[in-house]
Symmetry: C3
Subunit: 139 residues, 3 copies
Amino acid sequence: MKSLREELWFETKERVEFINITPRVEDVVRRSGVKEGMVLVNAMHITASVFINDDERGLHADMKRFLERLCPFEPTSQWRHNDTGEDNADAHLKRQLFGREVVVAITAGKLDFGPWEQIFYGEFDGRRRKRVLVKVIGE
Amino acid sequence: MKSLREELWFETKERVEFINITPRVEDVVRRSGVKEGMVLVNAMHITASVFINDDERGLHADMKRFLERLCPFEPTSQWRHNDTGEDNADAHLKRQLFGREVVVAITAGKLDFGPWEQIFYGEFDGRRRKRVLVKVIGE
Amino acid sequence: MKSLREELWFETKERVEFINITPRVEDVVRRSGVKEGMVLVNAMHITASVFINDDERGLHADMKRFLERLCPFEPTSQWRHNDTGEDNADAHLKRQLFGREVVVAITAGKLDFGPWEQIFYGEFDGRRRKRVLVKVIGE
């Protein structure tokens, strides 16, 4: 069995931002030499997500508005987590809804994707350095 | 390491429909010859989910009503994604909440399930041909 | 390829309760002897979740309040699943939002975690014996 582990680092300009990381994951898979296997891609922070959906600007705007309506940032005093001095309870909840990780099949050395699948880093409490783990296993 | 890859195809009659695919996944696992490993089952489209829950009609009605309340199809003009000419922004969001994929353990050649676990294809924008990927790895 | 399978059992005092199971998962990984691979941790029941987030009491209170607002337990008659004689439709939905499973990378024999990642068993219909599956694969 082969394996490869890499970290992808981010520092977003906005508090909430989605970044298409598909090419970077493809590059790790290529360098792993794995032809048949799986790749795990997960946020290493608990106020961020990794998810698969469409790379369409209007949809991303809908997603951000939807999450903000369900888990509003303000007033920050509505969340007990923020009694600790943090202000990011909403980001922890947004991440719960959008998920921590994706697992993608590798077939013939490539990400085994449907026509529109793209992998996103979903940042919900950005403007500082955070990272994603990519772990490939297979043969 | 052994691996097997198969696609399951669907064309639902309703726009939103849940289909129990457990027997079809079991069949792929059996044919893979894998005794110890994992199977990844994921929607290959970004307006559909694969999830594990109960095969109970009342629960499925609750799930559909719940998702429709959170992410309503109409009015379609409420979503910026639909400015592109699409009408399925709600389906992209419903899929985010119910997830893209499941990973199931394979033990002694079988899906290693609790008493009520069943795998569902969750279609949120149906009435056309769409598919699920089943990828088995192990020994 | 090596593999190890273990069950973790729980019987919570409250109907909804979150339990940090990170040390128990670490212990299974250690005993598996796997140095590079993945561990799947999933609820074997469909009214419970396994998820990764922060071990902070205020955040857990926020999560419980958030889920109760979206998927209220009472009135139980609002859910068609409860027409079967059950009263736990809300728990099935809460589990959908928080997810069934996590997959964690194993690197150099350890859970490959960011600084605050902790694994939780999320019980939504407790006060009875229920379990989680831990499945390790790798080399």
